[in-house]
Amino acid sequence: MTGFIIKRLVSAALTILVVSALTFSIAFLAGDPAIAIAGKDSSAADIARVREHYGFDRPVAVQYGEWLGKALTGDFGQSYHYQQSVADMLAARLPITLGLGLAAIVFALAIAVPLGVAAAARPASLVDRMALALSVLGQAMPTFWLALLLVVFFGLNLRWLPISGNTTWKHFIMPTIALGFFALPALLRITRAGTIDALRADYVRTARAKGLGPAKILFRHALRNVMIPLVSISAVQLGALLSGSIVVEQIFALQGIGALSYDATLRADLPIVQAITLIVAVFYVLLTLVADIANAILDPRIRENW
């Protein structure tokens, strides 16, 4: 198992390196970063000044090497736009996005798993149809639209929840629902399909023949098999939520890294874009690794293959 983890970590490090080199060069392909940094209303001379100040006229590979050298020692530099330490800014904003992502996945699982199992227990029943409707709705409805509906309903009509900001936990309820709804359909479908498959399997028939009650069969035998794909999909979804929170953060005025990365990309604020890309890539890689290990713990067959 240790050998497997080491192998995975090495390939993860390479993935992250490639991702970061790509984002760095794409920023230059998109145009001269000096224009974005000098900003609107700057003169041609102001832009030239910025270009010289940051050394953008040097080869991209040299600039990337310089950034990488510092990043490896933990120095992410200063934001071009905010003139502040990138590490400090991310430290302030990362918890918001992470918290939101985790809350959203918990919310999605809390609905998807019970509903998926119930739907699988009685295919074509009313519950199953409701689950299908919910999953189609979740898939079809854009996040921003759901977010606005929530704002109008809970924020304006009922006045139950604060509309924007992040000062109390109540501020996170609507963003959690909006974001969680986005992850819901995939989790719901995988739970339902997995449970149905498991219920048709031979060992379930055997268990039934042995006289086990339906609840025990469902939760002890069927659900445990569903857990494996569920863990993998949850990990991938959580990664997607980290990047998918851009829209939600924008609407609810939450200052996470989603909103920050959006603005930073528009402003060619390379140190921030690079640091966020790196963090998200690291998260993705770690999440899939954790999912693999969790699956190995859940399923002895996977362990044996290592």
Binding site: I35, R93, V152, R159, I163, K170, A253, Q255
Partner: protein
């Protein structure tokens, strides 16, 4: 189930809380801003988000009243001119910075010499480059020496050039200033959470006879809310009291909402199409003055203003905003909407079968598409590249754009030089390179006699419009919405003057 019960109990709490904001409203105000201030050191950046705070916290030597009059700010009176390149300012006594430091000549000398230094952090060199050096005469007198005679100096000194407390700034630097701003203005910053909210309180020692009034509202909270729809929801639920980020559509819709006031207000910003007469894009069509004039005749500015900008903008005939000093509307050659004339000019120029024109634009989609439609009607097929600002700027500078639709804010300076001289005085941003215009502008930017300045800019305006180097379109608009109980007036310079606000 658990989630539902939690939701329900929190709802009960929230329902009670929803009643309280009304009581707090009498003393406080919450203002939404759409973009986050990058730094509160105003020499580094002073745009929308920054300005919302800067103009209430910092102050300048000269000041502009909401009515547009130029008056003494931290200076005791209008300066005397020692010679063509030297202005002498007497400073006000009894002014104190928020940290208790007394304001004196040292602060002015330090601020301007730091800003105009070659390696300073000033983002727009045009704002500081005219200063040669600043010298202290005595504790309450300074002399500003300019590189060349610079008649717009007072306008600039009323603009984005606030005075720093010299000891404090020297000690904490740009970053320290941004984290804990210290100025002389009617409000002090007491708390800031970048990206979320800023809390200002009234400066109670503000009694030195500033042209700004003492603040009427004691506590101001500024919240960053990027999404305009969210701002509307907050406004309607009482979460915020003022916003300046409404689109014309939203303003129209909010007009019918009780207890909410909404208005489109004209700004100093101008929208124009630049044409590459300097042959950088090497497009023979736009190098022909008849084609440029035809394009000017082809667009119905009045209709665009009426239908897309809620009638709040004004159609433009000048390469500057008519509210700016020296922007002579009467000198401009006018091109009223006349598609037949446009067609005949195009025929004359040899484009009877029409022509193709590549246009880069960073303007709002609706306006750009309307313009495209008008040009299409006279046989000009526009290949529109509506791109982000960076790509737009890249295309114009590298000579890929024969036509480019953009807007210009003149750094909020009410002087035509901030627009005409920026774009027509030679240099990389000048796509006309007209020798006469350059000479007139050199005169206008350096003679002190206001009459002679006006004359010089009028000549420039006449030639620029006659040659149709640009297609002036319309002025910009900004959509405001606020609690109808608030006494609030939007101004053309877009400066949010919180100290003027009060509750009815």
């Amino acid at each position: 189930m658990n989630l539902l019960t939690r939701l329900a109990s929190s709802a009960a709490l929230a329902a009670i809380m929803a009643l309280s904001p009304l009581a707090a409203e009498a003393a406080d105000i919450t203002i939404a801003i759409g973009s986050e201030p990058s730094t509160l050191d105003p020499q580094v950046r002073d745009d929308g988000g920054e300005r919302a705070i800067n103009d209430n916290v910092y102050e300048t030597l000269m000041a502009r009243t909401p009515e547009g009059e130029l008056v003494a700010g931290l200076a005791a009176a209008a300066p005397t001119q020692v010679d063509a390149k030297t202005w002498e300012f007497k400073l006000r006594p009894d002014v104190k910075f928020h940290n208790g430091e007394a304001f004196s000549a040292d602060d002015v000398v330090y601020t301007y010499n730091t800003m105009s230094a070659k390696d300073s952090q000033a983002r727009f060199r045009a704002i500081v480059d005219w200063i040669e050096t600043v010298e202290k005469v005595d504790a309450k007198t300074v002399r500003i020496h300019t590189k060349t005679p610079f008649p717009q100096a007072l306008e600039f000194l009323a603009g984005p050039m606030p005075i720093y407390p010299h000891k404090y700034y020297a000690e904490v630097g740009s970053q320290g200033m941004s984290n804990a701003p210290v100025g002389t203005g009617p409000y002090k910053v007491v708390e800031m959470r970048p990206g979320e909210q800023y809390t200002l309180v009234r400066n109670d020692d503000y009694n030195w006879g500033s042209p700004k009034s003492k603040a009427k509202i004691a506590n101001v909270v500024i919240r960053e809310i990027p999404d305009a729809q969210t701002q509307v929801a907050e406004l309607m639920s009482g979460g915020i009291d003022v916003t300046a980020d409404m689109s014309p559509d939203l303003v129209t819709k909010l007009g019918g909402v009780p207890d909410v006031a909404a208005k489109m207000s004209e700004t100093l910003r101008i929208f124009v199409i630049g044409l590459d007469a300097a042959k950088r894009a090497n497009n023979p069509a736009v190098n022909d003055v008849r084609v440029r004039q035809a394009l000017n005749y082809a667009i119905d500015r009045e209709a665009i203003v009426k239908n897309l900008m809620a009638g709040a903008a004004r159609p433009l005939s000048t390469p500057c905003h008519p509210l700016q000093f020296g922007c002579a509307e009467e000198a401009a050659v006018k091109y009223p909407y006349d598609p037949e004339k446009a067609k005949s000019l195009l025929r004359e120029a040899g484009f009877a079968d029409g022509l193709e024109l590549t246009m880069y634009a960073e303007a709002p989609a609706k306006e750009a598409e309307a313009i495209m439609g008008y040009l299409d009607a006279v046989g000009v097929k526009v290949k529109l590249n509506r791109v982000p600002y960076e790509a737009y700027r890249d295309a114009t500078m590298s000579g890929k754009a024969p036509a480019f639709l953009f807007n210009w804010g003149s750094y909020s300076l009410a002087d035509a030089a901030a627009s005409i001289s920026f774009f027509f005085k030679g240099g990389d941003d000048d796509f006309a390179q007209d020798k006469d215009v350059i000479e007139w502008l050199n005169t206008g930017d350096s003679v002190t006699d206001p009459g002679k300045r006006k004359e010089a800019y009028a000549s420039a305006v006449r030639r620029i419009t006659e040659q149709a180097y640009w297609i002036p379109l319309f002025s910009g608009v900004r959509g405001y919405a606020w609690d109808a109980n608030l006494d609030f007036t939007p101004f053309a310079d877009e400066i949010p003057r919180f100290y003027e606000y009060s509750w009815k």
